[in-house]
């Protein structure tokens, strides 16, 4: 079958939908494939044109995605001149980022008696945590073990993960679920009240616990309440624009820009925890993203400037099933849970073309392959994708969509599609930064006093992350970082605090003859126009 009207070889949306609805059985093409070759040819990470070598900083000489290298080798947004007259605030621990990882770290540190400021770019909970739909992994079922959780995580990461971190992650799993329940988080349970689990792509056992298809949102609900009920000082609309350091290079706080009046505040802190999330809103390789608006990789830039080593800067996760149509929702995530529950991926020819529960990079590469080889569905404005067979899932398990995937049904309503009878068009969406700041098992980076938790850190997921491991990571490592930072902040404080590392950065950039026109951190995507550096009093349209 071939397309008549489209320029590409792909098949038009209307035509393909018609074909799909006529079909009742979907034959599977040969599903056994050479995975390495598939990734090599179709996964965006493997496109060498997007990679360049870093010229300055701790990762000098190592490969990095071009769009990230641009920010890592950019000029600072501030100057010593901006700090004259800046208010100074003292605290024990500064947490930068108000998602799940930041809250978990702040809560634990505050519990241990530290004075904590949590500064977040937007509002508490404006994060990717609330977007996490699928669930959280923990080896809690009979017959499952942390060892097999470890094996799955290590294998899915193409054996590139740091073993001690993975060990810590999987061992923390059951205790993390218990802690979340104690905080008041709800999970789906069976008729006996036992936690329901399901199997994630790339996993050997049924290990994902969840709440409907908005697990992250439920997690954030309880974390936010807990923070509200603690003595943590929460600063909204307060992105960090630079870190501070002391005389021996120990991190000593941050410069915060307050969006509601455009002023800078200097927060002097004994220890700093960065939990700023990922980098999806940089739209690597022009991919749509499932990420929250604030995911602009700020933490990577701040930590790198202070001398923190980064890793896997060329490895990202493209979630296989992002919405491809309608266009205004493009990039929105459709949970892997739907595939775990048994939904198929179908190409325009009406074939299954991949084992839907393979690790995410394989499935995403397979979808890209279908589209590039003319077996995808195309629409106007370059939309392309394959079908997610929700009607088939509903037919095999009547009522399952309503009961377990209400958010997805709602997404269908927004798209004017009844997903119980009509499939959605999906295409990989930029979802997760696999690498990040190198950390140890307490989440401490290579810079003393600087901890990194959650997506901004690297090493746990190797070059590909398993579903459900991100939510586990943010709580497990968030709590570890919070406890460790609290135990370290008993000293008398820093002797000399400043931003001398910025002069060093500028020096290095000048000596390498590099352009200083780009300023970083980005703070907001290019298509949003907040004048974040304005010193004028003014309102940015946010309440406070």
């Amino acid at each position: 079958m071939s397309s008549g009207t489209e320029i590409s070889n792909n098949i038009s949306y209307a035509q393909a939908l018609q074909n799909f609805l006529k079909q009742t059985e979907f034959p599977a093409r040969e599903l056994a494939i050479d995975e390495a070759a598939l990734l090599e040819r179709f996964h965006p990470d493997h496109n060498q044109e997007n990679i360049e070598t870093l010229q300055v900083g701790p990762n000098k000489g190592e490969p990095c995605h071009k769009q990230i290298a641009r920010f890592l080798q950019a000029d600072s947004r501030i100057d010593a001149a901006d700090l004259a007259g800046a208010r100074i605030q003292e605290t024990d621990i500064l947490v930068i980022g108000g998602g799940g990882a930041g809250c978990a770290a702040a809560l634990t540190a505050a519990e241990k008696g530290a004075k904590v400021i949590l500064a977040t770019k937007l509002r508490l909970g404006d994060s990717n945590t609330v977007m996490a739909e699928g669930g959280i992994q923990a080896a809690i079922e009979k017959g499952d073990t942390p060892q097999s959780h470890y094996d799955d995580t290590y294998q899915a990461g193409h054996q590139q993960g740091k073993k001690e971190l993975i060990k810590q992650l999987v061992m923390d799993g059951p205790e993390t679920i218990r802690w979340l329940i104690q905080q008041g988080m709800q999970f789906d349970v069976d008729e006996f009240g036992d936690l329901l689990t399901r199997k994630a792509g790339g996993s050997s056992a049924s290990r994902v616990v969840s709440f409907r298809d908005y697990t992250g949102l439920e997690m954030m609900r309880v974390l936010r309440e807990a923070v509200d009920n603690s003595n943590i000082d929460v600063w909204h609309y307060s992105p960090a624009v630079e870190l501070l350091s002391n005389e021996s290079g120990h991190c000593a706080g941050a410069i915060i820009s307050t969006l509601h009046n455009g002023r800078f505040v200097q927060i002097n802190a004994r220890e700093v925890i960065i939990a700023t999330g990922g980098i999806g809103r940089v739209h690597l390789n022009q991919f749509a993203t499932s990420n929250h608006f604030g995911a602009t990789g700020d933490g990577l830039v701040l930590a790198y400037r202070l001398g923190a080593k980064l890793r896997e800067l060329d490895s990202f996760q493209y979630h296989p099933t992002g919405v491809a149509f309608p266009q205004h929702l493009s990039g929105t995530l459709i949970t892997e849970g739907v595939r775990s529950a048994g939904a198929y991926l179908i190409n325009a020819l009406g074939e299954r073309f991949v084992d839907e529960l393979k690790p995410r990079d394989i499935v995403a590469a397979a979808i890209i392959r279908e589209c590039e080889q003319g077996r995808g569905v195309t629409g106007d404005d370059g939309i392309r994708g394959v079908w997610l067979d929700t009607p088939g899932l509903e037919a095999r398990h009547p009522g399952i969509l309503q009961q377990r995937f209400p958010k997805l049904l709602q997404l269908g309503v927004k798209s004017k599609i009844d997903i119980r009878s009509t499939p959605m068009l999906v295409y990989p969406t930029l979802h997760y930064q696999n690498g990040g700041v190198v950390i140890d098992s307490n989440s401490l980076s290579s810079v003393p006093g600087l901890y990194c938790v959650g997506e901004v850190s690297g090493g746990i997921h190797g070059r590909n992350r398993l579903m459900g491991n991100a939510l586990l990571e943010i709580i497990s490592f968030g709590r570890r970082a919070g406890a460790e930072a609290a135990s370290q902040c008993q000293s008398r404080g820093h002797k000399k605090i400043g931003i001398t590392h910025i002069s060093n950065l500028r020096r290095e950039l000048m000596q390498h003859g590099m352009s200083m026109t780009t300023k970083a951190p980005l703070l907001f995507p290019d298509y949003v126009h907040y004048d974040t550096d304005s010193q004028e009093d003014g309102n940015f349209g946010f309440g406070d």
Binding site: A80, G85, S248, K496, M510
Partner: protein, 411 residues
């Protein structure tokens, strides 16, 4: 071509054999053959204390040499170095330990010292390792045995990490520290030469001062005094930092003009900005402004500009930097570093830093500025050591040069 002495390639490295190959050891041999003339040679050379005071080295030495051991005599080689912008001793100890050790041995010969303590900032792991390794090699050497023969008793040499407090670099505080106590500075007199470590006569010299000694002993006083420009003697390690393109340690003739240091050796200002001020000598001194760019960087010339050379640190600040903010940071450092034994210092530095912060953030009134001016008048000289004076000096000099910036910051 600039004639490097301390950082000459022949002086570098931690192998004693190499040091001996490149004329090392000759200075000590000369000292052993004519011990009585060492101090007069140092005097003729015009060597001064390079840790910040600029006090003639031979006077300190003579005072110790005149004492009789009680029962010992101590030498403290002061490498506590903790001032902002100063990193020359770390550079010396980690790249060229042997000239420092030889200098200390010559001092022992000249003053009949039998106990030497290398007193080094604990942050400087490299320095500590290098000096320990260096000493191990010296103790195997024949020259070392000759020093012990000369002293008629075994020489005791200890390497100790200081407590890391800034105040621990003050000479009497260093003595307390060597005695195993918290580095509280002592009142003077008695001076260390009369009563230092455990009451024994004690010589405290900066690392850079000692490093110059073997070269003077080998090449003579005339050679050394001709190295400097104008009236000055020898070379100086300048620590250049702040908003310049190439910060670092530069060994230049004593008396090199400030402009040459910044623009010729330092590569000029970062981002091509205008120079606003230079904080000299770490913080225990004052501010130079663009009109002082021609000043020769030696103790006396800088002093005539109302500032002091101090350790030779030059922290360069460019246009756009808030002076009040910068000074606040320095005073915060003093407040943090005050040992707390003198009430005037403990509370004085704290109040000054609070007042400065208030001024910097636009919350202060005229009365606050007046209070600051008053404090600067009544506090100096009221502490046992010079920490409080240092804090006042920098506030005072910043107000002298940038008073408008203070006034404009008032509410």
């Amino acid at each position: 071509m600039i004639d490097k002495v301390l950082l000459h390639p022949d002086s570098l490295g931690n192998s004693l054999l190499n040091w001996f190959k490149g004329y090392g050891g000759t200075g000590l041999e000369n000292a052993l053959s004519e011990p009585a003339s060492i101090i007069s040679l140092i005097e003729m050379a015009g060597l001064r204390g390079l840790g910040g005071s600029g006090y003639p080295a031979h006077l300190k030495w003579q005072a110790v040499a005149d004492q009789t051991p009680n029962p010992d005599k101590y030498l403290i080689c002061n490498g506590n170095e903790d001032e902002p912008g100063t990193f020359k001793d770390a550079c010396l100890l980690s790249t060229t330990p042997h000239q420092v050790i030889e200098g200390a041995l010559i001092a022992a010969v000249a003053n009949q010292i039998n106990k030497i303590v290398f007193y080094i900032n604990p942050q400087q792991k490299n320095s500590l390792d290098n000096i320990r390794y260096g000493l191990e090699q010296w103790q195997q050497s024949e020259l070392y045995a000759r020093v012990e023969q000369f002293l008629i008793e075994p020489l005791s040499i200890e390497v100790m990490a200081s407590s890391g407090h800034y105040i621990g670099g003050e000479e009497t505080a260093a003595i307390e520290s060597v005695e195993g106590k918290f580095p509280f500075p002592r009142g003077k007199p008695p001076f260390p030469a009369d009563s230092g470590v455990h009451g024994c006569p004690t010589l405290v010299n900066n690392i850079e001062t000692l490093a110059n000694v073997p070269h003077i002993m080998r090449r003579g006083a005339k050679w050394f005094s001709e190295l400097g420009r104008g009236e000055s003697s020898g070379t100086k390690l300048y620590c250049l930092s702040g908003d310049v393109l190439h910060p670092g340690v530069y060994e230049l003739p004593m008396g090199t003009p400030l402009s040459e240091l910044i623009f010729t050796h330092g590569g000029g200002m970062l981002l091509g900005k205008k120079l606003k001020a230079v904080f000299t000598g770490g913080v225990s001194s004052t501010i130079l402004t663009p009109k002082d760019l021609d000043v020769p960087l030696d103790f006396d010339s800088v002093h005539t500009r109302g500032s002091s050379l101090g350790t030779g640190a030059m922290i360069v600040v460019s246009e756009g930097t808030g002076i009040v903010k910068q000074v606040t940071e320095y005073v915060n450092f003093y407040a943090h570093s005050s040992c707390g034994q003198c009430p005037s210092c403990k509370t004085g530095t704290y109040y000054i830093s609070q007042l400065l912060n208030k001024i910097d953030t636009g919350r202060a009134s005229d009365a606050d500025l007046d209070a600051l001016v008053d404090l600067c008048k009544i506090l100096p000289g009221s502490g046992l050591c010079h920490l409080l004076d240092g804090a006042i000096k920098i506030v005072d000099s910043s107000m002298r040069h940038f008073v408008d910036e203070y006034k404009n910051s008032l509410n």
